[in-house]
Symmetry: C2
Subunit: 218 residues, 2 copies
DNA sequence: TCGGGATTGCGTACGTTGTACGTTCGGCGA
DNA sequence: TCGCCGAACGTACAACGTACGCAATCCCGA
């Protein structure tokens, strides 16, 4: 009875590794996601992970795909473009909650969940009544807007990560000569003073609206 | 006379290091840009670089800023939105020639050249006659479109880097069930068959056009 | 002409990373 | 009961960024 079931711990599984990876990246940033640290967090040693995951890249790809899986499908009842709009906003929201994800989203081939995500968006465009060519471009326009915009916003946060945002802004402003760069200084102040909100939804609408105005065969 | 000026080589300079870094990243990808390899390419040993550059991050930031410096200023004669359009296209073109740049563009505070780039775009919007709020959002919309779109396109190339593009597409298609994901399969085929060109300019125009249609105070 | 500081380059070394390889061990089918 | 198989582990290695101290060189004032 000495070695029998000695505080038997749960064995490792792929899904648990992926989930722990997401947690770790959320908590401490993707740079802190090291195979050693991840194993430690799970109570194992490094090489145990490699029994379930081919290498770090595969792990990262699985992580993004898991995140993609948490984005709900678009509504099938609403007006198609309204559903596209809601889906875009939902996608962005999920990505914002996992700031490391957009980068990786671009770096790997889509996994099953991201493929679903693609299919959802394409299907919604397909029932929009827009000409096929327009729908094709619309898919890219919306997809790119969501990812690009989120990426850009998160990059700001990342730059300012080791100090508060205002200090970073001051640092930048100190490097800009106001007489030669008046518009830049003014633009930054517009942000600080909060006179202008996020452009995300505004530009999204502008794109969706523009799509309906496009000729049959762009 | 043994050690006297023994094949005197050019001393190292900041600019040369940055230029060599850009070359190396262009030639072999940013992952191959290692302080050791860079020093080797310049004919020095690693630590010599650190007399001119604080650390690798500073080097990378200098590299993007140098790239930004190679983007010409927008025309001041053309119609303002026409100039914005041309500037966006010029920016994209430069970024495409340095596939590693867009990533880093997001990661660091702007240096002098990028600050100029900002000022140029903002100034052009300022003379467009668009209401200030619209111009503010327009700046972000255009900036984001250029960077996001380029990033996304380059990511595709990067994924397919170690095989030809078609093989990568086949790999992806093999993972997609055509009966459950008909739109995805069709969309990919549209790309392969070249029935649809790049959405870049199309969506850019759509954004610019949309801006002129926006209300005074969005 | 002659020091002598300042700059530039170099060698060595450390800690951290991803991961290849060979061994150990516990549980399960025969 | 035996033997096997997969999971976990320990060790090891190459490559990375970079801290630190020393050596060579250059420039400048006396």
């Amino acid at each position: 009875m000495t070695t029998k079931t000695p505080a038997k711990r749960e064995p490792l599984e792929r899904d648990k590794i992926v989930a722990a990876g997401i947690e770790l990246a959320d908590d401490e940033g993707v740079d802190a996601l090291t195979m050693r640290r991840l194993a430690e967090r799970l109570g194992f040693k490094v090489m145990a992970l490699y029994n379930h995951v081919a290498n770090k890249d595969e792990l990262l790809a699985l992580m993004v795909d898991a995140v993609a899986g948490s984005i709900g499908p678009p509504s099938e009842d609403d007006d198609a473009l309204e559903a596209v709009r809601a889906h875009a906003i939902a996608t962005r929201e999920v990505l914002v909650h996992h700031p490391w994800a957009p980068d990786l989203w671009l770096r790997f081939l889509p996994g099953p969940n991201r493929t679903d995500h693609m299919e959802h968006l394409l299907a919604t465009f397909a029932r929009s009544g827009l000409p096929p060519g327009v729908a094709h471009h619309g898919f890219h326009a919306v997809n790119n807007h969501v990812l690009g915009y989120t990426l850009q916003e998160l990059a700001m946060d990342f730059i300012a990560a080791d100090s508060d945002a205002l200090a970073t802004i001051d640092l930048f402003l100190a490097s800009v000569a106001p007489d030669t760069h008046p518009h830049t200084v003014a633009h930054v102040h517009q942000h600080v003073d909060g006179h202008t909100g996020s452009s995300f939804e505004l530009v999204l609408d502008l794109i969706l609206d523009g799509l309906t105005r496009l000729p049959e065969d762009p």
